[in-house]
């Protein structure tokens, strides 16, 4: 049995809960595919975002499977599988149809970003001098403030951003402003599953499964349900 630690906050399309209380989303589909591949029984454990690494270390879960970007800081504490999707950072903003994500468009704007994310790191590196960062505990909160106009932009992973723009709220207020130019130094490593330090057996098993799923077309199959692009 493998216990997958998944964040209990809504992070569509990767993970969220439906009205019957069941976890659903792209990462859940991926998890199911991985487990089918490994012929393992999988259980989902709900954890708060800041509790993921402690939960892993205190053996409440075996894998962090919750859109956690692979960073050097985290690698000091835990090991990662190979990436299973790439974090592409995009911005959404008010529906004016004019502004984009160029530095001159962002001048003096307030940008909502979830605290301690790769987007936050990217922002610090590229936009810190021209715009203001406003930190949120979750991405969802930053979307709400984008809708109420409290922030001018939200800078987040492309998946959730586009998902938000599909909702009534998102459609009415905002539009997609574009994806920022890649910067492998901060965005490059992508998102992977986190395992306990030294748990190489599980890491290898998961790596193998991810590779197999990408090879046999399963990845592309459920991908279509959520995205109009390949997130890998």
């Amino acid at each position: 049995e493998i216990r997958f630690g998944i964040v209990n906050e809504a992070y569509p399309p990767y993970t969220t809960k439906d009205a019957s209380g069941k976890s659903v989303g792209w990462e859940i589909d991926l998890m199911d595919a991985v487990c089918e591949q490994l012929k393992e029984k999988c259980t989902i454990v709900d954890v708060a975002w800041d509790g993921l690494i402690p939960a892993l270390e205190s053996n409440k879960i075996d894998v962090i499977w919750s859109s956690m970007s692979i960073t050097d800081e985290r690698k000091k504490r835990i090991d990662f599988t190979d990436k299973y999707y790439s974090s592409m950072a995009s911005m959404a903003g008010p529906r004016d149809g004019v502004l984009g994500v160029d530095p001159e468009h962002l001048k003096d704007k307030t940008v909502g970003i979830a605290v301690s994310t790769t987007q936050s790191a990217y922002f610090k590196k590229h936009f810190a001098d021209i715009a203001t960062e406003k930190s949120y505990a979750t991405v969802d909160e930053s979307f709400q403030d984008l809708a109420s106009g409290r922030v001018d932009y939200v800078f987040a992973d492309t998946g959730p951003l586009k998902e938000f723009l599909k909702t009534d709220l998102g459609k009415d207020c905002c539009e997609f402003k574009g994806t920022v130019p890649p910067d492998d130094a901060v965005l490059g490593a992508g998102v992977g599953g986190g395992v306990r330090k030294g748990d190489n057996e599980l890491r290898e098993k998961l790596n193998g499964a991810i590779k197999a799923i990408r090879a046999n077309g399963k990845y592309a199959e459920f991908n279509k349900k959520y995205f109009d692009y390949d997130p890998y």
Partner: protein, 229 residues
Amino acid sequence: MDFSWIIPYRELLLQGALLTCMLLLISVVLGFAIAIGLAIAQVGKNPVLKMAAKGYCTFFRGTPLLIQLWLIYYGLGSYLPFIPGLRSSFLWPIMREGLFFAAVALTLNFAAYQGEILRGTLLAVPRGELEAAKAAGMRPGMVLRRIWLPRAIRIGLPTFAGEVILQLKATPIVFSVTVMDLYGAAYKIRQDTLLVYEPLIVVAAFYVALTFVITQVFQRFENAVPTRR
């Protein structure tokens, strides 16, 4: 245990601590003022005001502060775009910040608890003292201002310190609406450094120290009028 992060983050911590103190001060002072109104309405004769004050206190004492805060920040926030002209008005810089809503929620919440306490202490003032004031020719307003309220506040003084400490302990909740108070700073540090306990320990120590200061301050207040035991 690793506390080396304190130096690089000292700015953030300091601002957070200041914000915490400020929120406490604002909500206690304003909340107390509202509480006086609530308490007077509850012991007064006007049935409409009485019901309103009672309902207010029941609602705010009966629901979690977290929900109240979400309600007014995100709940009301979702209606902001429909208020024409708000964005260009002078109010906008206030409305766009979580700080304003956090202060409002904390104030309203404190007022409800304090209002209930003051109601009790108003009723605890011996009738004779009020009759003496009436007999001296004081108008109802003056009785309230000079005798009733000061006495009620003094009777309640020992419990006020406890209420203020409870209020201090309620402040970290403001982080859930983007206010970077001391707890918010700790949260960010925890995310950045992946340290689980150390930032929490520092924050907890700060609250314990502040609690001590509050206790001392109120002890001073209490000693202002000597009592015989």
